[in-house]
């Protein structure tokens, strides 16, 4: 089966995942179309971050299937390099490599993993850092950057692999309120350029603004989903209502 | 049991592996004596070093500057010189000045090599213990002591019933490190002819020319000894975590 852009770029079917006794994902299904921006919201411990990590094959699933551009992610024969070229991920704790400068962080993976030409990669890295508004910060080490700046380097680092999909795992949760905005602006620009994005977030205002579709998860289940307008105004499930009343 | 011992005699006759301490009663007793002396030496040193630690930590909290200085000097000396040098210093240096007593025809110093080993090694480990206990006591907030005193404890009671038990739990991991190290260091007593395990093994292989067998035995016995100690200490550490404050 070959994948065509009109099919879902990510398709999650009946996924179940547990850590020992603890079931984190019960039976989760969702589809993401190309160019779509998806936000996953829900109380902490509801399995949102686990779901993102499963898409990237950072953790294996127990049952069900996840396909990215038609490729089964949890196929043992899968070429993980191919998957990770397609799927970029940005973490809550940035996870920049502290012994490398901002520029080197962006350049490392294309050179080491994709074996691309160094001069070319460097040129692109400068462009990417400019794109996330970090011109002039190229020689700085992560330890010398603010949280928001580090997170934008992390976004540039992922973009350097030319992914088709970007996963954002609570990328603003560890940031100061003032620096949250600069990261969100970067993500919105990406979304406007047509990048397929999946965000796990607690920023409801942002989700409402950029998302094409919102999923609400609780205790490993997708409780409710819909476009932002209907989701926020006409929530039906009592759990969603309760959650929204606490947040908004 | 006899047949077990005889098996080793057969092993020797057939293969040449001479585990002489199994089938020769004399060597067996010698070996066991050495083993017990190692245990005895370790336990004695542990006990004395802990006492030195507690007393030293208490003296370090003294109001007199000179007392604190002396304790500090003691810690610095024993922390920063090799234990072998300390052992030689005590045995050859101070040993020369201790009086001897008549032991029926010949003169014997009051403190023998075993005594000097205990003194030297206890002071060595004690120096670390003072610092360990001191840091543990300092980790208990002043308000806890005040609370104890408000409940009618006097200063000594508060120290014994509240502060020390808390401090002890805090510094147990560090204490364990030190005690394990101490047991390993007791082997140095060999250098001043204390007839502990290592020294006895040496005697046995000199008499029976079975160096590899004795060496293996020695190694395994020490591994087991230290291994059991490390294991027991870690179990203890886990048991001693502060109740009602744990996970």
């Amino acid at each position: 089966m070959t994948w065509t852009p009109d099919q879902p770029i990510v398709s999650i079917q009946n996924v179940r995942k547990s850590f020992g006794q603890l079931v984190v994902l019960h039976d989760v299904s969702l589809d993401v179309a190309k160019g779509e921006v998806i936000c996953v919201i829900g109380p902490s411990g509801s399995g949102k971050s686990t779901l993102l990590r499963c898409i990237n094959a950072l953790i294996p699933i127990d049952q069900g299937s996840i396909t990215v551009e038609g490729q089964e992610v949890h196929d043992p024969k899968l070429d993980k390099l191919e998957l990770r070229k397609k799927v970029g991920m940005v973490f809550q704790q940035y996870n920049l490599f502290p012994h490398k400068t901002a520029l080197q962080n962006v350049m490392m993976a294309p050179i080491t993993v994709l074996k691309q030409d160094k001069a070319e990669v460097e040129q692109r890295a400068y462009q990417l850092l400019k794109k996330v508004r970090l011109e002039g910060k190229e020689p700085s080490y992560p330890g010398e950057l603010s949280g928001g700046q580090q997170q934008r380097v992390a976004i540039a680092r992922s973009l350097a692999m030319n992914p088709d999909i970007m996963l954002f795992d609570e990328v603003t949760a560890a940031l100061d309120p003032e620096t949250v905005k600069e990261v969100l602006v970067t993500i919105r620009e990406l979304a406007e350029e047509g990048m397929t994005c999946m965000l796990v977030t607690h920023e409801m205002g942002f989700a409402r603004e950029v998302a094409d579709h919102i999923y609400f998860t609780d205790k490993g289940l997708i409780v409710e989903h819909g476009p932002p307008a209907t989701f926020f105004n006409e929530a039906k499930d009592p759990r969603t209502k309760e959650f929204l009343s606490q947040i908004l | 049991m006899e047949s077990f011992y005889d098996w080793f005699r057969t092993l020797y006759n057939d293969t040449g592996f001479n585990f002489v301490y199994f089938y020769e009663e004399y060597e067996r007793e010698r070996f066991i004596r050495g083993f017990w002396l190692t245990i005895y030496l370790s336990v004695t040193c542990v006990v004395f070093s802990v006492i030195i630690g507690v007393v030293g930590a208490w003296l370090q909290g003294s109001n007199l500057k000179i007392t604190r200085r002396i304790v500090q000097g003691y810690i610095q000396f024993f922390r920063n010189t090799p234990p072998l040098v300390q052992l030689f210093f005590f045995y050859f240096g101070l040993g020369a000045f201790t009086p001897s007593v008549d032991a029926g025809g010949y003169y014997e110093p009051i403190i023998g090599s075993f005594g000097w080993a205990v003194i030297s090694l206890s002071f060595f480990a004690g120096a670390f213990n003072v610092e360990i206990f001191r840091s543990g006591i300092e980790a208990v907030p002043e308000s806890t002591r005040e609370a104890a005193e408000a409940l009618g404890y006097n200063r000594l009671q508060a120290y014994i019933h509240v502060i020390l038990p808390l401090a002890f739990r805090v510094c147990l991991p560090a204490l364990n490190n030190n005690l394990v190290n101490l047991v390993k260091t007791t082997t140095l007593a060999y250098a001043i002819a204390v007839p502990e395990l290592m020294y006895t093994a040496n005697q046995i292989w000199s008499d029976n020319v079975n160096v590899p067998e004795m060496m293996m035995t020695l190694w395994i016995v020490y591994i087991l000894l230290v291994g059991v100690l490390v294991w027991a200490m870690h179990r203890w550490e886990r048991k001693m975590r502060i109740p009602g404050y744990g996970q």
Binding site: M89 | N80, V170, A191, M215
Partner: protein, 308 residues
């Protein structure tokens, strides 16, 4: 990757507020309590810290002068019988041969031990259970043995010469001692490597994996470069500990500085007044060598703490 990457073996269960972050803000213990537990666990891989200060050396030197003075007052101070004159005669042997041998043993044992220890340490984080298990076992075996026992094993079990064809290669005592010293160093460096790798936050592994780094690439380009910095101070501390331990092999007749000092004293008719000056002189020599290392270790540690 989470499943594959081994989480640190908990040497002791965390006690909130004592060995881990507190879960309540009750003032049961001061924050120092946490530090003590953390430091104790650090000592298990880093070894006891040598905390040499300049005044230690000064004190030793003054003590040396004092005993030399006392000794000089006791005996007739004719030219070749004087304490300093006697010491002066022996210095070329004690320092030039003996102490130099201590240094050679310490360098070689450290080099051998580090090379073997790094491999063993990487073995301890291997994905293959057999490799991991046997590396762990070897490490524990040599880490928990007293140094003197290991030294005895190697000194007595290794042959004093080996014959390859017609060539007879003699193995001198000090070479065997070097091998004996390198074994505990190996085991401790192995623990150091394992501890350092596991102290790197697991987010680093995740980030590298999501960028499609292989395990080997992650280890060599992301994890180990970050470990090296953390490992240098404790590594140097181990070197200082090793150097101070090298005199142990004098017990087995290796002719290093302590052994030669003993011999020198005997050939000076074991004059009691020489004892203290000679041994104090040795202590001063060892101090002069170890003190800069200890200082450097401390300053590097501070520097890295600030950066990381």
């Amino acid at each position: 990757m989470i499943g594959l990457f081994r989480t640190p073996r908990p040497e002791l269960r965390a006690i909130p507020g004592v060995t881990g972050p507190a879960q309540t803000d009750l003032p049961v213990l001061l924050p120092a309590a946490q530090l003590i537990g953390r430091k104790a666990r650090q000592d298990r891989t880093n070894g006891f810290r040598l905390e040499l200060k300049a005044w230690h050396g000064l004190f030793l030197f003054l003590l040396f002068l004092f005993f030399t003075g006392v000794a000089a007052a006791q005996v007739d101070n004719t030219l070749d019988k004087g304490v300093l004159a006697t010491l002066w005669r022996w210095i070329p042997l004690i320092v030039g041969q003996g102490f130099v041998l201590n240094l050679i043993i310490s360098f070689t044992a450290m080099a051998l031990g580090t090379a073997a220890g790094v491999m063993l340490g990487l073995g301890q984080i291997s994905l293959l259970p057999q490799v991991r298990g046997s590396s762990w076992f070897t490490t524990q075996l040599f880490r928990n043995s007293p140094w003197l026992v290991l030294l005895f094993c190697v000194m007595l079990l290794l042959p004093f010469e080996i014959t390859i064809g017609d060539v007879i290669i003699r193995i001198p005592d000090w070479t065997k001692a070097t091998i004996g010293f390198s074994l505990p160093i190996m085991a401790n460096i192995s623990e150091l490597v394992r501890g350092a790798v596991q102290s790197i936050p697991s987010g680093q592994w995740e980030a590298a994996e999501s960028l499609a780094f292989t395990r080997r690439q992650t280890l060599w380009q992301i994890i180990l470069p970050q470990c090296v910095k953390r490992m240098i101070p404790p590594w140097m501390n181990w070197y200082a500990i090793l150097t101070m331990a090298t005199p142990i092999c004098s017990i087995m007749g290796v002719q290093e500085s302590v052994n030669l000092t003993q011999q020198a004293l005997v050939s000076e008719d074991s004059r009691p007044e020489l004892l203290a000056p000679f041994y104090l002189f040795l202590l001063v020599i060892f101090f002069c060598y170890c003190y800069p290392i200890a200082r450097w270790t401390v300053s590097l540690e501070r520097k890295f703490v600030v950066k990381l």
